[in-house]
Subunit: 328 residues, 4 copies
């Protein structure tokens, strides 16, 4: 299957290329970049030198030739690609925020008008796999909502308050330099940002609701001196106290058979480069601490997008996603 | 004034020596270490080369000669020094946990018997300065309770639930190598530990109660790839919603005139090496996020101990603590 | 082919297991550890959870059952395994220092007596591939000599002085905590060690001589705040000045057809997790700066060992070593 | 004495303000910034909150009122300030490169025309203190030349080849974000740059010559994942072999009585925030490894500038520079 990556110069684009190298059915044949048109992909992604001769191109949306496309462009850019691609029979996963939320919520939170809205399945397979099957278009979740929702999901119906305190590596800010990502501003620091107003909160609330929760939901992200990974500490205040064994049983049952969820002590290094989400829980009765670790660029972006592609296309769900993580 | 530092080889001991270098009234004349007896202090603290000719000694508790003593030894060791020192007229600040809690709470949480218990003022001056004045013995707070309590204090009477999510630098684990502090286990990771059972929780509850709070109190610490500093994100669920201005006014009022509390965006690098606690707050109505940044070895240990000494001795409260922090 | 890993609990052992997961012909059937006997391999290597049910065993050297064995135990331990394994028809790659040097040099530098010495091919395939072919036993090079030798090799016959200034990540020190690897002693520092006396110098001199060089050879390693990777800056003072184009042509020619050597700007992140050695050179006439980047645990240990196994067994030289590196 | 800092918004400017806080004779009364005119200094330097009410101004060169001025602006900008300040009786230390080199060398290397050149004393006091005394204008050395020259100076007359392999923290690149300083491009990496062509090489050669050396001089800098500090490994090939004791004696003699040079194992953390240069040496006969550690923003910039001011003004040479460094 020929795959196009629209917006292939950034971190998520690079990860799509890297991961698809080991996919038995898919091959990247189109990698687009406005700024780098004509340059070899390996100039931007030097780790892939020797793996691909691909050159960045800059086709119009209607000129992209492929069986499948990933949109790894910013929100508001993605909405220009979806219909042109679908109309030509190309299935699509969109990694941007453009189709994750109801139109009104999206327009309010992102402060823009949507020019091509329709409802799309939300591709967090461990929560809503059925919607993804046979879909021709899937919206890929945000990095924070992925780790947060998977941490809290089994307790969603039992929670009164869910507070997500997340710690994200700097690759989540993209490859564009800014004061936020300037090394001396990051190293030796822990920087909370958008303490109560991060855009991903809406997705988190949406997913808790989908899971039958009526809990109040809060979210504070922190930028931490780490390249990759999101660790989410979910502080869950329960309606009724639950003991450790009961909680553990709930998680085991909820995630039974899920290849990408491993119930073990979450360490960023143990999931690095992989599509795993490692989760553990500890109950003190009225509060449960549930912690998840993901690689923000993989389970939080490119890897989950490929997982969705696999489900959409009927491949093994872990095709191209079986390479073991690399620790330390 | 001659000062003895009992347990001067560790990080807190080293910080006491460093900070007292700039104190106008105090001079370190005794620095004890069992393991390093006879060796120059600067072998262990090479940054201080050129500042002191002091040599580690190992006197019995009853043989220490000084006007003032800091105990920077582990809990259970400290309790052997207090009475012998006080009996000889030496005033004392204990940096260990031995006198921070009621006896029964201490014995239960630390799992040991106290052999010389009595009640001591808890030296968090911004909360309970009166008790410190004229005291001959003060118990210095734990590093986490200092940052956490200062973050939440103004809202204590209005809180229903207080969740402290703390991120600590590795110097908090001391200078003794272990798997926990092994570089590859720390770098590129964010490691929660004692998710619901950290010993400092009891101090946090005690201080909230002292402030008139009936809130449920929770605490989860994380080890982060930073040398120095604790950032505490206090998620405070209020009894009644409060707006941003009202909350800010509360903090301004509460900390008016406090030299060591600065109400500005907390950054670990902006307090590094200093006794400051930088705090900011953001309200979303029912939840307030209050974040504090301290240097765990200074306001969380040695600096606060000197602050207590200054209050006990009638010196300017910031004597020896005026050197500006160093950023980046 | 059944593979035994003797000493499978450390970083190199873990990497052998990780990399062999993707090898088409080899399967790890024995993983030994004295300290962890009876425990699942994934307790020690949690990133591999879900990939293997292997349990650590502790067989005597004469009881190991396999077609091929890797020795990932410390020097002096390895020499007890080689003959017993070879006698039973098991081919071996030794990752320790026990067979890298002539007996007298080894005994002098390592300060021990060798109890079972014989000559073994030195498995740096890009330099001496022929010796490895059809061998039943190969000695795997040290991490520093691998990166250093590959950086300087094309210029070896033209050099008067070769000074290797190497910067190594902390995983090179193993997984055993010590003051050297204590996080606060590593972070924010650059620590030279064994400035003129590192044991790997002898290997470096041996390889320069093998390449026909009569240059004086010097080596100073530095521990740097990085988990993985060795960057070696080779300062090469030439017998006769050479221009940039001439030097580049020499390198291109020397490494033509080498899968694992890529002539591009060396970045640790671009080789991380992989068996690549990225090299670039810059001439200023009388001095050439040649810099190489390797992953110390892969090309510097486990990956090169598998590369040697592949050559010994007639597999594709990059079998099990084709997974792309992961950046950032 | 009233002090003006021209270009006070960057790291060097911030350090000048921080360090002068503890100076007994000097007070910062003017802090200029084009971009931040009208804003409080503490908005840009939040660690100094509570220490100063100073507001950034943007006066013309001829309107600056002060007794002494530091120029912490980029090269080519500094040359516009010197004469106007000197003409009005204001003594000056220039931290830029504009007056460090002979005019022709400067113009060739920096690729610009000098519009106001004259000869100025080079302010590396340990090497050429006499020239600084009573000067009204001093050119402050570059960060790399400071650490490198101090490392090699005592051996300068005995050296045949001097190779400086330097490792610099990221604050040396300034506070302006760029791809070079983007966190994911720095963390977990060691990045050599300008391998043979860094502009500071000319200063290094000039200082070796001043010290009576005829050695060939080479320099390769590396950016390392550290905020502050430069560690320079000087590989010195001698004309004639020298033993360890002889070399050590040479260094002790050369630096006898120098307050800011400490002969001990160089660690970046042991000099952080201070004006010290820690140096140690190890001889292997024909090669000596001499390693220096400085804080690039202090001894490599602001601290040395204050040291020069002190000498120019007849203050104690260490006035304002006695605060102990902060480790870890």
């Amino acid at each position: 299957m020929d795959v196009a990556i629209v917006g292939a110069s950034g971190y998520a684009g690079g990860e799509l290329i890297r991961l698809l190298m080991t996919h038995p059915e898919a091959e990247v044949t189109v990698a687009t970049s406005r700024a780098l048109e004509g340059r070899p992909v390996t100039d931007q992604h030097p780790h892939l030198r020797g793996y691909t001769d691909c050159v960045f191109t800059n086709p119009a949306a209607g000129d992209i030739e492929a069986d499948f496309a990933f949109l790894a462009v910013p929100h508001t850019a993605a909405m220009n690609y979806v219909s042109p691609l679908l109309e030509r029979g190309i299935r699509v996963v969109d990694l941007s925020a453009d189709y994750r939320l109801p139109r009104d919520v999206y327009e309010r939170i992102y402060g823009v008008s949507h020019t091509d809205w329709f409802e799309a399945p939300y591709g967090l397979p461990e929560i809503s796999r059925e919607g993804v099957k046979n879909a021709r278009f899937v919206s890929n979740p945000g990095c924070f909502p992925t780790g947060a929702t998977l941490a809290a999901a089994p307790l969603a119906p039992h929670a009164a308050h869910v507070i997500y305190d997340s710690k994200t590596g700097v690759s989540g800010a993209g490859d564009n330099p800014s004061a936020t990502t300037h090394y001396p501003n990051v190293a030796d620091g822990i920087n909370p940002y958008k303490w109560t107003s991060h855009r991903h909160l809406a997705e988190m609330k949406q997913e808790l609701a989908r899971l039958g929760s009526t809990a109040a939901c809060y979210f504070t992200p922190h930028l931490v001196p780490v390249n990759r990974g999101i660790l989410t500490t979910a502080h869950i205040l329960l309606d009724e106290p639950m003991g450790q064994e009961e909680v553990e049983a709930l998680y085991r049952e909820f995630y039974r058979g899920e290849y990408f969820v491993r119930l073990q002590r979450p360490m960023l290094s143990a999931v690095r480069g992989s599509n795993f989400c490692d989760i553990a829980v500890e109950s003190e009765g009225s509060r449960v601490v549930a912690v998840s670790a993901i690689d923000n660029l993989v389970k939080g972006a490119a890897g989950q997008a490929i997982q969705n592609m696999n489900i959409m296309c009927g491949y093994a769900e872990n095709a191209g996603l079986t390479v073991p993580p690399c620790l330390p």
